[in-house]
Amino acid sequence: MPSSNTSARVLMQGNEACAHGAIYSGCRFFGGYPITPSTEIAEGMARMLPKYGGRFIQMEDEIGSMAAIIGASAAGLKSMTATSGPGYSLMQENIGYAYMTEVPCVIVNVQRGGPSTGLPTKIGQADTMQARWGPHGDYNAIVVAPASVRECFEQTVKAFNFSERFRTPVTLLGDEVLGHMREVITVPEEGELEVISREKPDVPSEWYHHFEVTPNLVSPMAAVGDGYRYHMTGLTHDSEGFPTAKISEIKRKLDKLYYKISRFYDEIVQIDTEMTEDASICVLAYGTTARAARQAVHMAREKRIRAGLIRPITIWPFADEHIREHLAHAKKVLVVELNMGQLVNEVRRIAPRHCKVEQLNRYDGEVLNPVDIFKKILEVK
């Protein structure tokens, strides 16, 4: 396997690219439990981490994996886990703990068909809403979704950057096809992609508050053992981390969790579009599905249909304003997903009045191919 720091053109699998992206980001701890179709990420990390002075641990289940990466991140290492639907469900309580205690970490969910054990070796996109609303309670979430092998690398780096920058868990939503697809990519050179690390406190320990509400809402983070002795709890807490039942402090904490992300919406939203300026019909899709959607849009253009593509790369927060702008002149938007209709409801929520929302869904473990989408464009245009 190539090292992460060469600019060589190499044939790489999506899951491998994700592991290399993690190493590039400075991820030095991985805790995981094997599950198809994500296992190559764990295997790659087991092989690479010790070479980079990092640590890999195979835990007894995904609940333990999530707990271990939160512990390791609290102790100062950039940390990651990777899984698929069943494991992602098991992780939810501890992901909620990471939201609450503001511990950065990255969770990769290589989606399969569901529910339950579902289709271990087939594709699905039915965890789109779970990635936003999985853990109980109120919080805000950042979720990114690559659509190529090179993007698996880049978006893993982005996921780490967002998690470190905003002190929050970030989910990377992949899928079975993308995870196992091989493409020739140019591996980013060292320094080519921005790598962000959490801000550390620069005050004496007596003044340090682990959950201080700063002007930009994100608190500097000391690692366990750095000499700042603090308390961390999933109970609602004050700025020092101690449990609180004071109404004002409860609200302040929850506001912080929400606004530290929503306020930086412009920094977090990533969206890829094609030919939307004059489009009368826009196709909106993410991940593997967006690849087929792109081709369908080109097929439509050849038939002189003014079609355009909207591909959210940041899925959550949902790119309300950006998408609305791209729909400014469209009469129709066709939302294509490998589920029974999840993002389509977000699009309905934000679509301008003049723009009718249509949907195309598949949920039998197969991909939607360009012809399927093209036909739907013809039908609804």
Binding site: I57, E60, G64, S65, A72, A75, G225, R229, H231
Partner: protein, 282 residues
């Protein structure tokens, strides 16, 4: 705040006091007479005895009355999710092996919802010290049955007596491969101090089972009396493993063994991983 030195001539309460977060968090949540506070004192004295710096000590707990212990102590403290403390602690320790990582857990937290993490941690042999506060019931949620509730004992979810059978945590740990196993009670405080000191010094996975009283629920539901009566029961039924070795079986009838029960050497995970890194980076 000053780092604790070893004040031989001071009262134990003075020693303890230096390690408490006195400005916040008190009064504590525990019922008067609850044994958990005694375990807290024992943990603090052991750390003080070994001269560990506050900054290098990490207390990790799950959820329960016993898991509330860390918040009162001036160390690095992580109060995590129910049953998962050992998995969190594993992440902390593997990431920063120079830290002294101590897990504080209850019988429900450790043996029911956390049972899987517990046995795997025994087997994996990461250098953690687990203090299992066993009060034989779920205290925090109001007296429900736990995996340590004896057969036929009463709990709010076993109103006609417990039909199940309890774990013996020290035997479970031994079967699962722990390196160091000890047991004591909140009556035998000096012995408990010694066992915790031993566990902290051990390189490898250590378990100290601290038998404690939940008079509020276990005592009341099983007519075992108040805190004092339950401590008396511990005094009368505990038998030092050292003493027991030389006694005929009939003298051990109805007793449970305390003290150091198991101590073996095996390679520790973090040390082995460090060796692997050195080998691969050569």
């Amino acid at each position: 705040m000053v780092e604790a030195t070893k004040p031989e001539d001071k009262q134990t309460s003075d020693v303890t006091h230096q390690y408490l977060r006195t400005k916040k968090n008190f009064p504590n949540v525990w019922c008067p007479g609850c044994g958990i506070g005694t375990v807290m004192g024992s943990i603090i004295r052991s750390i003080d005895k070994l001269g560990y710096k506050k900054n290098e000590v990490v207390l990790v707990s799950g959820i329960g009355c016993s898991s509330r212990l860390p918040v009162y102590c001036d160390f690095n403290t992580l109060h995590t999710t129910h049953g998962r403390s050992i998995a969190f602690a594993s992440g902390v320790k593997v990431a920063k092996p120079n830290l002294k990582v101590i897990v504080v857990t209850g019988d429900g937290d450790c043996l029911a919802i956390g049972g899987n993490h517990f046995i795997h941690a025994c087997r994996r042999n990461i250098d953690l010290t687990v203090i299992l506060i066993n009060n034989q019931i779920y205290g925090m949620t109001g007296g429900q049955c736990s995996p340590a509730t004896p057969n036929l004992a009463y709990a709010t979810t076993a109103p006609y007596g417990n039909l199940e059978h309890n774990f013996i945590p020290v035997d479970l740990a031994k079967g699962a491969g722990a390196s160091y196993i000890a047991r004591s009670t909140v009556y035998h405080v000096q012995q408990m101090d010694k066992m915790i000191v031993g566990a902290l010094q051990k390189k490898g996975f250590s378990l100290v089972e601290a038998i404690s009283n939940c008079h509020t629920y276990y005592g009341r539901l099983n007519k075992e009396g108040d805190a004092v009566a339950m401590l008396k029961w511990m005094k009368e039924h505990a038998m030092s493993a050292k003493v027991a070795k030389n006694l005929p079986p009939e003298k051990l009838e109805g007793k449970f063994l305390t003290g150091l029960l198991w101590d073996v050497e095996k390679p520790e995970f973090c040390e082995e991983y460090e060796k692997l890194i050195q080998r691969l980076q050569k």
